[in-house]
Amino acid sequence: MVNPVVIIAITLIAAFSIGIFQFLGKKFVRGVFWLTVLFDFAAILSIAYGFLTKAIKNPIMVKIGGFPPPIGINLYVDQLSAYLGVVVFFIGAMAAYHWLSRGINDPEPKALVLLLLLLLGSTGMIFTQDFFNLFVFIEITSIASYGLVASNLDSFSLEASFKYIVIGSISSTFVLLGAVLLYKFAGSLNMADISAHINSSMYSGGMLIIISIMFLFGLLIELEVFPMNGWALDIYQGANPAVVAILAGGIVKGFYLVFLRSANYLKFPHLLKIGIIFGLSTYIVSQFFAWKQKDIRRLFGYSSVGQLGLLILAGAFYLNGNLHGFAKKYMLFAIIFFVLNHSFSKSTLFFLADLFGRRRIEEWKGVLSKNKLFGFLFSTSVLSMAGAPPFLGFWAKLFFILAIPKEYFYIVALVLIGAIAEILYYFNLYRIISEKEDGIFDYKGSIVPSLFNVFVLLGLSAFGAYKFFILTGLDIQSGKFLAFITISSVAVFVLGVSRLAQWILSLGMIGALGFHVIKNTSLVPAFNIQSFFVYLVLAGAIMFVFATYPLSKKYSAVFYPLFVFTVFSMVGISVSSNWITLFIFWELMSWSSYLLINQGGKKAAWIYLVMSAIGGYGMLAGIKLLSTGPNLIPSFSSSSAFAVSAWAGILIFTAFLVKMGTAPLHIWARDAYGESPDGFTPLLSGVLSKMGVFGGILTIVYLLPHLSHSDTILYGLAWFGALTALFMALLAIFQEDVKKVLAYSSISQVGYILIGLALATSLGYSAALYHTVNHLIFKGLLFVAAAGIIYRTGTSYLPEMGGLIRRMPFTFLAFLMGIITLAGIPPLSGFAGKWLLYSALLEKRWMFILLIAMFASIVAFMYCYKLLHTIFLGQLRDKYRKTKELPLPLVIVELVLAGLTFAVGIKPNLILSFSEKAIKSLGFTSPGYAYESAHRIVSKFGYWNAYFMGVFAVGSFIIALILFFFAKAKIRKVGQLDIGYSGEVPDSPESVHFGYDLYAHMRRAVRVFIYPHVENTYKRIYNSLMAFVDYTRRFYTGDLNTYALWVVITLSFIFYILYKGVF
């Protein structure tokens, strides 16, 4: 354990000695520099390690000059400053390494001195416990950063540096005045001594309040708070990114800690008010201003200023927001994780921006594909900054939201809206980067520092996850499961050398998990709704993974790991025991599915991510409203203990409605399904939307009964489901891309399930559960077939296909059975779902919804015929003469699913037996229908004998065939162009094939329904927001006088709101 003063002394001596060694050559100076930095890092690490392992109990107090505190100056190193010191030195070392590798311009020794003294200044600032000494160290840090910011010597960095100097000297004047006035008021300069003299009653006296405002305002300027952070943004944009990395990554955090510590010593009563006003406004404003940014560095600047605003908010709550017990611990860890996450990922982003060199975002097109390692580092840090689940940012945000007291719900709402805005602009950037571009780009300078940072970031994310599960006392089960998910997907990536190996590995893993879940019932006790969905997910995943092998040749190496990750997170959702674990796995699923869709359509993936972020964060807000109990974690059952405002239910349900793609929230579905990689779409539509259904069931069963006026909500949901079913079917008719037709049809089928849920009767649930399984079967079948067809024909554009029945008979048979099930025609399994739903609706006397539901299924026939005709029937084009049948795995899956539809068609209680058990676990006595005989189902309104219908259909079909052969006619097969076509003999298939816009005549009748009203409203909202943001971000005029003016205006504003004396 090194005496902290030695760190400062040694660095100082080294800095002075460089003055001599600079004449001996660059190598020597670099050696001294690295020696000192490593020594300091080791020293601070040993102190931090001492604190971590409780070897050092109480904070270290070092008297300088031998005099006791109030007389002399002393250093005071507690836990937070030790950890921050480690972060500052680590980031400083990385930035120095990066800068040296990029080559520092000419007088390099002098730059290294500035770097050393910058680090010295910030550590001194963190350690000292004397106000004036704090002022001196702030000056050292500021002057060093003035010099370093200007180090590029181009007009940008010089301008930024000058602005920083002017604003910095104003801030240091206030700090100086504040320090001396504090001495005048309290008699000494030592923080501990002053806080002993001060008690909060003195604040009404008028003197102390102004003195502390002046002092804290001086620090607040350095914290880049909203009205006066123009200078900071210009530094982020203009200065050398290595310097910016240190400033943003370490130094600003030092100012932050000093600000909080001095506010704490001064017992400043209004810290919460200041924290909320400035922290929140900085966060919100900077997130929205970052939307229209063209310069990538300024974008990162806005994001880091926003993060700092969030930190101020968290700090204010931690110190002054009278949190106690769990909330206080959560807030502490939220602050620590925010600081760590921001320091490491932001500095990596700045290093990478420096390496790539170009400023405008458009020029970053396709970086991800050009350089894999660079892309990996960039995406990890962007994901962690935006708060994607397994990374540190997510845990920080979760801790923060949980810790805020409930009466401040408007803060939670605003912070979440800011988070959505953050996701919007970060992943607008990510969308541009992940474009497919050829060519390789290399860079001058080494990637090692960013590699180190990301490596540490990953380690911290694991620690964050571990800490989250320990601290909140959540069941360790889901914590271990989360670890299992990440390890397994990484294993698939690492071990999977070729696609085949990855395919086998992922198959094995899903199989193993399935076996594990079935065998030991610890994960899933009795057969209840959760295990119903676990088996559903696993069965679906096994089949769809099996079908992806032939397609995966052209996918990137990340496909299978992400696939496994999504599947396991879905299992995690269905296994979770309370709302928070549900939310964690939900976010895991959304993010991993986003990354998978991003392999295909970039813009589609972006819209999908924004919509699921809106849903996800809405859910988090809803959960916040529910949070009860000491550890603020609402479990499913506990949340039913008291009346809850309708808002909680609605917010939580929106997340599930987004995934189900119900009417107003459906805009992402067509493109996400349409453009996602073909191997993933069956899983996306077959299983992922079912997670929305699972969530819906949980909300309705556990939450809605306790919500005020819950029946109107249910009736409204039923209407949403019905309208989705009808309008999506209508839209599906006019699509010209096979996957887009199937996408709309998939949403409309999920609309049926939503109606089933909204009924909330046992018959309604059995209809919904049956239809969930059935939809998985036939939609999976259709998407697998579509994937195969696209794989063979190379196009997904319907008018270009035709006549494929001759080349792919098995696929046609499977597709036909899939279509018949989709349409719900009796012998096959589709009809049972329809029948259960209609009887449930009849039972509940919801006549209009029944009318719309039945009419929607009639409309569904139109696109069923369209799909069959344009793909398989009609004229076979010449280029498809030699296309072979689909690859074997696909055909196997198709036929298995087709067989399943027939088997279930004949004997529906293959599924119904499972759904009965699931419904009983939901607390219903009977499943709403009865078995009269072995095969005859009777509901209150009607009856239906599945077995008889199957036998009758097959039997009479065979009889008709036999009758046909009795007829004497000899069958003669004729060529495809041999048709009586108004006397002409057609020469080419194209001239006679009718495949484009089959329902043109229908369009005139339904024009008003299929006009994209919803999409246009979304576009209009987005564009007007963009225009508004573009106008308001002109606030930062770049004019130094205006910046200084805003500083004075903010000071007068603070005086006005806090000091009631003079006016």
Binding site: E139, I143, S169, L176
Partner: protein
């Protein structure tokens, strides 16, 4: 009270220059005037009427026969010690600012703020 008001006025004249003047050097002059104002304010905070400077060169300043200095005869030395540092820091900042101005001039041949507004929005 006159000294307080005067130094406050001096600070605000300096600040006024930084807020209004378009010439970079004029702004730095404003800043240095502000520094002088602050220093004067601190010194006047530490002044006590009718007492001498904190240099103990005469015997009378001691309490009878001891090495303890009679507090009622000496002005408060601490603010003066602080101002010593503050003046030097003021000079350091001004030197830094002027070097940046020289560099700005060599890049853009002008020292008006209007030519240095590229970093914005």
């Amino acid at each position: 009270m006159v000294f307080f008001a005067a130094s406050l006025l001096l600070i605000f004249i300096g600040l006024y220059a930084a807020l209004v003047k378009r010439n970079l050097i004029k702004i730095i002059i404003g800043l240095s005037i502000m520094d002088t104002g602050v220093n004067m304010l601190i010194i006047s905070l530490g002044f006590v009427k009718g007492r001498t400077a904190p240099i103990i060169s005469l015997k009378e300043l001691f309490k009878k026969g001891t090495w303890l200095v009679d507090v009622s005869k000496v002005v408060d030395p601490l603010p003066q010690a602080l101002v010593l540092t503050a003046i030097v820091i003021g000079v350091a900042v001004t030197a830094m600012a002027l070097s940046v101005v020289i560099r700005m001039y060599s890049v853009k041949k002008s020292i008006e703020i209007d030519d240095f507004k590229e970093l914005k929005w």
